[in-house]
């Protein structure tokens, strides 16, 4: 049973049922990054999926843009407590990118330009749940929000949606990423409020 703080009334949001526990509605798009924003030139950009057998599957920027695109509208939830509803993105589904990748891996470790990484079960990247996104709200994705391209996995806390995405390593064994080694939850389901290790 929670302890009441006398005098606190709070402000109930009309969108409350769309907010996971402990989240509040943000109108703007806050930024959270652990270091300087990397500048990633498009002419050298590649995105590589590497299987557990070490087999690489790579796409250049032009090759990525030539793939079928989707325009998901999704709610996003940051572990720092803000949520943003009905965000609109454009990108390529991971189902498309993984279609010809032969794997029996259960886990994925996502790598970024810069030193960032994050891990998640491979099944969380499949079945229309994840994209490599390069446009947000009708515009090219800004560098501070992860441009040129970021992973978008909106059903997990937003640190799993790695900015400046560079590749995905498929693994038989789960391997923790950047925040996951620094006390944050290994899975990060906002609806179960899995913020920190052990939640």
């Amino acid at each position: 049973m929670a302890i009441v703080t006398p005098g606190f009334r709070g402000r109930r949001s009309a969108a409350a049922e769309r907010l996971p526990p402990g989240q509040y509605l943000a109108e703007d798009f806050p930024v959270l990054s652990a270091g300087p924003t990397p500048q990633v030139p498009l002419d050298g950009w590649t995105f590589t999926i590497t299987t557990e057998a070490g087999q690489p599957h790579s796409w250049s920027w032009a090759e990525l843009l030539a793939l079928p695109r989707e325009t998901p509208t999704v709610d996003i939830h940051c572990v720092t407590k803000w949520s943003k509803l009905d965000t609109t993105w454009e990108g390529v589904s991971l189902d498309t990118l993984l279609a010809d990748v032969e794997t029996s891996a259960d886990f994925a470790l996502v790598h970024s330009y810069g030193a960032y990484s994050t891990n998640l079960p491979l099944e969380d990247l499949l079945d229309g749940k994840a994209w490599i996104a390069f446009r947000y709200d009708g515009e090219d994705l800004a560098p501070e929000h992860g441009g040129p391209a970021r992973l978008l996995v909106p059903h997990l806390y937003f640190w799993k949606s790695a900015k400046w995405v560079r590749g995905i390593q498929l693994l038989h064994e789960d391997e923790p990423g950047f925040w996951e080694t620094l006390g944050y939850h290994e899975y990060g389901d906002p609806w179960r409020e899995q913020r920190y290790a052990g939640d």
Partner: protein, 237 residues
């Protein structure tokens, strides 16, 4: 293993500026914290409604005592209560300490540069206070950017010493006769660079982006720059 919710009580408070107030909390069996870490607060209303927010810790480790500095966001949900209405002796739920990245290790002998914009100075103050409390010999420099003189918090503790250098930047209005004209942070404020320096940058997104871009261009080691975005994420604080 899970981080438990603890009950904290307000034992004292201090005005830091017209819109910022420090809350001194007592938390039984507080495990201690490193400078730069934060806590989550959970406020619950009589009818069971609750709201959570994260706040950086402003104080150095000090037994069961913990200080947070809350910036008032007039249209926010939580900060007006914490700044104006939260009463001495009342309970609040808290868990932490949280964060293992934006922290300064007190034993680190390397030079440190702290770059804070607005209320982003709060976790940097925990680093400066820890540095002072343990009499660290690591050279430390604080570059602190505020809009105008009335926005400076911790004003009595910003005096330079032999190990600590403090540079105040005013972006909108500087005090009379201040040597630097009012304006946003520039490379001149952040230099000269030294790749050995560990850098912590905290503030609103625009400030952190500008400062960290300048630091990298100046020749600071990108891998030694740690950032944290802090402060209002719109009108909701």
């Amino acid at each position: 293993m899970a981080l438990p919710w603890r009950v904290a009580r307000l034992v004292a408070r201090r005005d830091e500026s017209a819109t910022a107030r420090t809350l001194v909390l007592h938390v039984d069996d507080w495990p201690g914290h490193l400078p730069g870490q934060h806590v989550d607060l959970r406020l619950t209303a009589e009818d069971g409604y609750s709201a959570q927010r994260s706040y950086s810790i402003a104080s150095a480790a000090d037994g069961d005592s913990l200080e947070l500095t809350v910036q008032l966001l007039p249209t926010g949900e939580v900060s007006p209560f914490l700044v104006n209405d939260y009463a001495i002796g009342d309970p609040i739920e808290l868990r932490g300490p949280i964060g293992g990245w934006f922290v300064w290790a007190p034993t680190d002998p390397r030079p440190v540069l702290l770059v804070g914009g607005g209320s982003g100075v709060v976790p940097l103050m925990a680093m400066l206070r820890t540095h002072r409390d343990i009499a660290s010999r690591a050279p430390l420099r604080l570059v602190y950017s505020v809009r105008s003189p009335g926005d400076v918090v911790y004003v009595d503790e910003l005096k330079p010493t032999e190990e600590v250098d403090v540079t105040l930047l005013y972006t909108r209005a500087a005090p009379p006769e201040w040597p630097r004209p009012a304006g946003r942070v520039t490379p001149v404020d952040l230099g000269p660079s030294d790749p050995r320096v560990r850098v912590y940058v905290c503030g609103p997104t625009g400030f952190v982006e500008a400062a960290s871009r300048q630091l990298v261009a100046l020749g600071y080691d990108e891998r030694q720059i740690r950032t944290e975005r802090f402060g209002p994420s719109g009108s909701q604080g």
